[in-house]
């Protein structure tokens, strides 16, 4: 214990920041470690992730010393360790395969995002009253709850996230605000950022005559 007490004044210096280590009764400072900003793993585990090439690039650019540590020739030969050569080759092959798969998946996701539609629907409630439902915002990474809150404060009307008949989440705003919402999306106000206007369509839903 006394040795620890002696260390503590020196220890925070390499640890740089002490976000959670108020000095008084010598808590042991946390180990500061770096996570890869691409795959969120500690960089030594990037090789097992699905984005090794991008991780490598990132590490080389931002932390060249660590890059040398993990990807220099010495490191590569020593890390094979007890693993047999065939197993190592297989591992590398698998990693490459995994990476290709991940890239394909990301591409597909992007395509899907670009193709997905946001529908602003004006629904007639009775003759002069309407609600507006917005569907498909989540495909563009919009937090529906926050968006609903934004609408309700902007229009001073009720706005909520509800499940529609198909079981998808949508935002329902009281009152006919379809044009205003379209404008907001065009302007990218608040959380509604980054939605291409071409993907937005405004439709109207009339109540069927004699329906219930």
């Amino acid at each position: 214990m006394p040795s620890k007490k002696n260390q503590t004044p020196a220890a925070p210096a390499p640890a740089a920041e002490q976000s959670e280590g108020p000095p008084p009764p010598d808590p042991v400072p946390p180990v500061q470690l770096l996570y890869c900003s691409v795959c969120s793993f500690p960089p030594e585990y990037c090789e097992f992730g699905s984005s090794l090439t991008r991780c490598k690039e990132w590490l080389k650019e931002n932390h060249p010393d660590l890059f040398d540590k993990y990807y220099s020739d010495d490191a590569l030969t020593s890390k094979v360790g007890t693993l047999s050569l065939e197993a190592q080759a297989k591992l590398e092959e698998d990693t490459a395969k995994k990476e290709a798969k991940a890239v394909a998946k990301a591409d597909a996701a992007l395509k899907k995002k670009l193709a997905s539609q946001v529908t602003i629907k004006r629904i007639e409630r009775n003759k002069r009253k309407h609600v507006t439902s917005i569907h498909g915002l989540e495909a563009f990474g919009v937090d529906l709850k926050k968006a609903a809150k934004q609408f309700s404060s902007k229009f001073a009307t009720g706005s909520s996230v509800t499940k529609n008949l198909q079981g998808h989440d949508e935002i329902v705003v009281q009152g006919d605000v379809s044009d205003e919402i379209l404008e907001m999306i065009e302007a990218g106000a608040g959380v509604l950022k980054g939605i291409p206007v071409d993907n937005v369509e405004v439709v109207e839903e009339k109540k069927k005559k004699g329906g219930d």
Binding site: P42, Y45, K79, G81, T82, L83
Partner: protein, 220 residues
């Protein structure tokens, strides 16, 4: 009449459950550990609710954590100050996550041991005893597989020496050959000496590992 009968039966059922104290204790002892608590975990569907923890319960958790982990009270105080209330996040299948300021710190299954989350373990690596797996096993561990004995007993693996043997049921930090930081947290299915002797079957069940859905969850 029909509904009345249904009601009484429901009431009976609930009584039934409440009265069976001893039975539930038996359940606890041989409750199957949910392997891969967090392999598939999505906050929107798997979280049943969040509640602040009563201070008496917090005290109990604190003392349990202090006895189960190798951590000084001061350090625990630094990561989880007494003033900050713990929030209990209830998840499906009796999994509990305890968070401070929305950051998950402690996980528990049913009445089992308290595990730190992997991020916490990375910051304070000494709080759990270590075992190591060889390089060949990393791939499988990252896919969420339990660790088999040969991977721990082989040359690249690491088990504590006989004089510091771990009993079955101990929670451990799993390290990987040639790597500096922990890769997962698990529960020993058999003692470390037993593993050396038998050297087959499941050695460590994995509670959480690098890249699972809990890892992806930085804040709740």
């Amino acid at each position: 009449m029909f509904s009345l009968a249904g009601l009484t039966r429901d009431m009976l059922m609930s009584r039934y459950e409440f009265d069976y104290g001893p039975r539930s204790i038996i359940l606890i002892t041989n409750l199957p550990f949910p392997t891969l608590m967090f392999k598939k975990f999505s906050p929107s569907t798997d979280i049943a609710g969040q509640t602040p923890v009563k201070s008496s319960v917090q005290r109990a958790i604190r003392s349990a954590v202090l006895s189960q982990w190798k951590i000084e009270p001061e350090t625990l105080e630094a990561i989880w100050p007494k003033k900050e209330g713990l929030v209990h996040v209830k998840c499906r299948e009796h999994v509990s996550i305890f968070t401070v300021h929305g950051e998950p710190l402690i996980i528990q299954h049913f009445d089992g041991p308290y595990y730190p989350t992997l991020r916490l373990l990375h910051k304070y690596p000494y709080i759990l005893p270590k075992v190591g797996v060889d390089r060949g096993a990393i791939r499988f561990l990252l896919a969420g597989a339990p660790m088999m004995c040969p991977g721990l007993t082989s040359k690249g693996g690491y088990l504590p020496p006989p004089d510091a043997a771990l009993p079955a049921g101990a929670s451990v930090a799993i390290y990987a050959e040639g790597k500096e930081h922990a890769i997962g947290i698990g529960l020993l299915k058999m003692g470390s000496e037993e593993m050396r002797k038998i050297n087959r079957d499941m050695g460590v069940e994995v509670a959480t590992y690098l890249g699972d859905d809990l890892w992806a969850l930085k804040a709740l």
